[in-house]
Symmetry: C2
Amino acid sequence: MSDHSHIAFVGTGVMGRSMAGHLLHAGHPLHVHTRSKERASELLEAGATWHDSPGSAAAASEVVISIVGFPADVESVYLGENGIVAYANAGATLIDMTTSSPALAVKISEQAAAKGVDALDAPVSGGDVGAREARLSIMVGGDQEIFEKTRPVFERMGKNIVYQGPAGSGQHTKMCNQIAIASGMLGVCEALAYAEKSGLNPETVLASIGSGAAGSWSLTNLAPRILKGDYSPGFFVKHFIKDMSIAIESAEAMQLQLPGLTLAKQLYDKLSANGGENDGTQALFRLYGGSDGSSLA
Amino acid sequence: MSDHSHIAFVGTGVMGRSMAGHLLHAGHPLHVHTRSKERASELLEAGATWHDSPGSAAAASEVVISIVGFPADVESVYLGENGIVAYANAGATLIDMTTSSPALAVKISEQAAAKGVDALDAPVSGGDVGAREARLSIMVGGDQEIFEKTRPVFERMGKNIVYQGPAGSGQHTKMCNQIAIASGMLGVCEALAYAEKSGLNPETVLASIGSGAAGSWSLTNLAPRILKGDYSPGFFVKHFIKDMSIAIESAEAMQLQLPGLTLAKQLYDKLSANGGENDGTQALFRLYGGSDGSSLA
């Protein structure tokens, strides 16, 4: 895999735009498709080639990378009429970096294999900042040799790149990440709600509890935003709900009960129904009697 | 407050023994009472004086420190017949470092004040290691001047010593700590359960998710123990259940709903009913289908 391999990039939202930019910058001829062409304008100005369909971009490339929205979008982009699998070159490698369904990753991998094409599932964590700074954590599922062959491409986008197992394993790993975050957010919001209700100064409480056994990334990074009333999205509520839905569906298929995740999903659904879908995940605090007066009751 | 002030220490369990040892080592004449005299033997051999009741130890001292088991023990030690408040010297400072009820802390403070005695509530986090290494986090409630006056005593036992507000505020802060931990533990256990059930290597999963947005003290410190099947207590399930009970009671008194905490308490109760009360808190993982075959169902 050289820096001159042609790469198709499908989906140039906040994450995809930065990730594709790193590849272009490294010298890869880049073939771009995304739902709204104007969201690709920066990349096109920087030298990327526009394609009117995912299949067209794939047909011009050795590696195809996608990061789109929902599993339905992934399915359409890969398995739809003008989709990637139908047009990919034999020997190409397809890499879906969307957080999506593990079962769908397996399905794509199987349909690709039937055409002599390899597929990896490689969702990320690290958010827009991680994407911009090429410091994403990337969790990879699929054939290990194919992963090793494409490692240089991953290294343009991330730092903590870990092979997790056969097709679907990248997605399963990302589900573990979201499951840990989901209940953790309950803990952060409930601790702060208790602090406020009991008349404590929550900032001073964080000074006591932030660095010990209660410490977490969320407590360090999101609790201060909550205390400032800053509910702007680092990670959207609506995307988190999508991820939790996938995790619950996947857990149910394995007959695994996850009551913490189930509760978190219920509360985020309620937050979303109250108009919070475009807030950041820390807005869960609102349900506990935050400033907008909504509540659990 | 000099290093020669007489200090009473009530309760010499795993935590209290280390904490009292630091005070003795610093030069304080130490007056000890605990339920089972043999648990004070090391301190007595090192020069501490034995007393047959909390009140007797208090009568000999300028500062009285306690760290016992349950709120009922705190109440008995302070407000019982041969208790601390009945025998404390006017002008003495009483410091309860048990994790106990905020309402009881207020009650003790009021009854002490009526006798010209000051009381602080100052629960800790950091566990047996923190106690041994004098690196506890100490959360202090009560009169701020009294806290400042006794600060040198706290500094013998802890590092992160934060004044949190009036009587009860130390206990309320500790409740925030336990609330954040409670739901966080659900997240850790559910992420690992999902990892195992989906056929991933949980160690490799931790390599992907441990340092990002899912990261927490529990994930870093307890998940590896879970994966080794090590359920030995850093912190006992039975003590965590006590703390969660106090937090729930206290939240109910404030009409605050904490569904994550309520769920965690239910699951830990179940774990305890299954014989896990003397395990470490990480044994919650057993409920998700751990090796002993118990389950949520």
